[in-house]
Amino acid sequence: MRISTNQFYQAGTNALGKQQTELLHIYQQISSGRRMVTPADDPLGAAQAINLSQSKSLNARLAENRTVARQNLGMEENTLNSATGLMVEIKTRLNEAANGTLSDADRQTLSSVIQNLKENMLALANATDGNGQYLFSGYQGTRAPFNVTAAGNVEWQGDEGKRLVQIDQTRQVSTSDDGKSIFMTAAPGDRTYITSGSGANAGTGVISDPVVTDPSGANVGMDFVIEFSGDPAEHTVTVVDKSGAVVDGPFGPTPFDPEAKKLTLPGGMEVILSGQPVDGDRFEVKTAQGEDLNIFDTLDRLAAALSEPISGNPSAASNLRNVITESGMRLDANYNAMLTVRSSLGARLSEIDMLDAGGQQRDIGFTSELSRLQDLDLYTSTMLLEQRRSGLEAASLAFKKIQNLSMFLINR
């Protein structure tokens, strides 16, 4: 076969060009540190890398979300920690108030202490975060959850919206709790009862210590209204629900035995009732669950009751006893609600920690997978570079040698 001179040079150029192209590719790989210099080097790998880097960046963003959630929950936890501390303080004062040896003036002092504690509690309930958003107002970040009305009482004006944060791809967690469930309602599952006596009672009846005697009793979980009438006063018990509708009864009238100091309520309950109620007196035994437990109202009423003089007035003293007992029960329910929220905060925080560990694990997985797809194995590539370099050198050397073989050059 005839090899034309043109073809000979062309072949030489082609061979050198091919070697150079491959050398350049390896050089580009090494200088960029990337296995895929362009997506065409590995189309599938390039597409996978794009999806992986999204997963990686989403994972990183979720970690940031967890940081935000942890901050929010941490702030709430701090505030609730102060609030529960305050509750302990309030309960200590309440126990002092229950001490029968106090004078009217002592009680007056206690009243203003309670008033102060209420103001402190209100400040905590209206606490804000770094952005000036109220912690406990639900969705309404810029509206204070609790507002002091013209009449002086504190009312709830937030909502029960949960401030959800995406802490994992499939998990959203509430980074807030609304003030209503902390300061105004019983914890879910709270089965306790609250006793109260009407402020207008003229007798000396003091009610306390509601007890469920038969947990499967028909009226356990219902409210009871105890009314006295006649002289000697007989009592009638009516079982009602939260709306006040009669569920059972009325039972009675039944004569009251002051010596028993105990009243059996129909359907599985009994309550301590001492002293001597008179005609028109009224007592209530209510579940904490579903009851308006506005802590500020409770403290207001307590402070107001403590400021009333009772010396020489057994009926007023009994009424004060009833208010103190009722306040204690209500504050217990509030305290219980706070602790429940705090423990749920703890659960959320520990879930975040757990997800953090998982997120870090995933990040390592994504990073190594991305690296496998994109990064260059420098050892192999350096070897290849050397190999290609020798190839190019050999090709150019060979070309030069053969090129010298022209007869025109030999027979010069």
Partner: protein, 538 residues
């Protein structure tokens, strides 16, 4: 001596033209000059030169030319597609990270809806996302302009080669007529012109009586004898943003321009450019538009379900590009096509174009490039087609056609419609500055399979596009490699016949020089003999 001289001249011609493109080795064809009859036998009269012939094998030459033509096509396709490939090479810049950053910003607002800094940052990231879509689309548009410009240049080049072939046809005919011999060098030149032409576009050659007739496409004439039918360039009837090639077709007494079907242009740089424009550029731009529009629609849809920081219902974040409708330039009727993208059409939207035809009775809508008929009926009024509402009004004539491109330019038309960070509807309808529920719903779009009938997430749509470009580039690279090997093979086969080997010519020079010396010796001997005879006489 004449024969030896002719051989020496030819060997010299070969040596001189060893590097001339398209040159075929020539050799002198000689024969014995017959013999003088005598009683003692036939005495040879020596040697005579019959002709000079070029070493040329039509079949091998054609193989080489068409291998080169395909090689040129792959090279020009490769030049274009690798530009797109390079554009998307770095996955730390461009659209994919812009999508990621946007959703990062969404998450940040969802986590702290009341934080003005987070909202401001999201606003900036939204702008950056829109910017990336616009920028990539501009790049692709520029590339289309570049391709269009090259098509124009190539058409001019083709015409100049066509002109040369016609001239050579004429010169060859004249040369043959005056000498009766074949003008080898002119033939070489003409073959080289045809080879050059094939590098630009695949051209078919028909040889008749030594004259070349050239055709392009499906047999449209370029050259016949010394007549030329030059190509022209102009906006395509069906899609004016593309430069199309028009052929001159005899019609009545004059000529008519007819658009050359894109699919019939094969081979050469022109074939590569048009294939790239049709198969890669259109496709990428459509996918980009689908992603831009689909994403904007889906986000707007969720945005509308929430309320902003001022308690107002969410207004659209993005302004969505509208479908492009082109009525064929040759439509006779007055029908007008209008199409709009449905606000809830994110998942139905496809990266497709649509051909709409009216046959006088029925409207037929065909989706391209899959060729599926998506609508057929006697009216086209508020028809629901792939996430669009399509209506044809006016009075179309039978045979009229339209092209509907819902996603071609929409990545470039994407705009931001909100300018205040308050306008992100982060809250669920309950409102509140600490309410980020609607933002969480937008954030969920990052990983949900929203596009393509619920089959891909936004990022997956983008990665699919990258994959497609990469596959096109990779395939082209592999084909070009194989084609280079084929070109080398056909070149060596062709050169084995037609090529000049300088060593061979060197040997020939030596041989013919010796012959020349021998022949001149013969003359010298004859002269001496003659002188001797003359001497005797004197």
């Amino acid at each position: 001596m004449n024969a030896a001289r002719a051989r020496l001249i030819t060997a010299g011609h070969n040596i001189n033209n060893a590097g001339t493109p398209g040159y075929s080795r020539q050799s002198v064809i000689v024969s014995t000059a017959g013999a003088t009859a005598s009683g003692q036998g036939f005495f040879g009269r020596g040697v005579q030169v019959d002709t000079v012939r070029r070493a040329y094998n039509n079949f091998l030459a054609n193989q080489f030319v068409s291998a080169q033509s395909k090689g040129a096509m792959l090279a020009s396709f490769g030049n274009q597609v690798s530009q797109v490939n390079n554009l998307i090479a770095d996955n730390t810049v461009g659209i994919s990270p812009a999508i990621q950053k946007f959703f990062d910003g969404v998450q940040a607002v969802a986590s702290t809806p009341g934080d003005p800094a987070a909202r401001q940052e999201l606003l900036g990231r939204t702008q950056a996302l829109v910017g990336q879509f616009n920028e990539m689309n501009t790049f692709l548009n520029n590339q289309r302009n570049d391709v269009n410009g090259q098509v124009q240049t190539i058409v001019t080049q083709i015409n100049s080669h066509v002109q040369r072939v016609a001239e050579l046809n004429k010169q060859i005919e004249i040369a043959k007529g005056s000498t009766g011999q074949v003008p080898n060098d002119l033939l070489d030149q003409r073959d080289q012109e045809v080879a050059d032409l094939n590098m630009l576009a695949k051209v078919n050659v028909l040889e008749q009586n030594g004259q070349y007739t050239l055709t392009i496409g499906n047999g449209q004439l370029l050259v016949s004898g010394s007549d030329t039918f030059p190509l022209t360039c102009g906006p395509s009837d069906s899609d004016p943003r593309n430069m199309a090639v028009y052929v001159n077709v005899p019609a009545g007494k004059g000529f008519a321009k007819v658009e050359l079907d894109e699919t019939s242009i094969k081979g050469g740089s022109l074939g590569g450019l048009i294939t790239f424009r049709k198969n890669s550029l259109d496709e990428v731009q459509r996918q980009l538009g689908q992603l831009a529009t689909g994403m904007a629609l889906a986000i707007n849809e969720v945005q509308a379900q929430g309320v902003d920081l001022n308690g107002q219902a969410g207004t659209p974040i993005f302004k969505i590009g509208q479908p492009d409708v082109v009525a064929n330039a040759r439509n006779a009727g007055s029908g007008t096509l209008t199409a709009s993208i449905n606000l809830d059409g994110a998942s139905q939207l496809r990266a497709s174009d649509y051909d709409i035809r009216f046959d006088g009775t029925n409207y037929q809508v065909t989706r391209q490039p899959d060729g599926e008929q998506v609508y057929f009926g006697t009216t086209l009024n508020n028809a629901q087609i792939d996430g669009m509402t399509v209506t044809l009004g006016g009075a179309p004539s039978a045979g009229d056609s339209w092209k509907l491109m819902p996603s071609r330019d929409t990545a470039g038309q994407l705009e931001m419609m909100i300018s205040s960070p308050d306008k992100f509807a982060a809250a669920s309808p309950a409102g509140g500055s600490a309410n980020g529920e609607n933002m969480l719903a937008i954030a969920a779009l990052q990983t949900s399979k929203t596009l393509g009938g619920g089959n891909m997430s936004f990022n997956e749509a983008y990665s699919q596009m990258v994959n497609k470009v990469a596959v096109h580039t990779q395939q082209n690279g592999a084909e070009a490699k194989a084609q280079a090997a084929l070109i080398e093979q056909t070149y060596s086969a062709h050169q084995a016949v037609s090529g000049v080997n300088l060593d061979e010519e060197y040997v020939n020079l030596d041989r013919f020089q010796e012959q020349y010396v021998a022949a001149s010796k013969l003359i010298e001997v004859s002269a001496t003999l003659f002188d001797v005879l003359m001497g005797i006489r004197a």
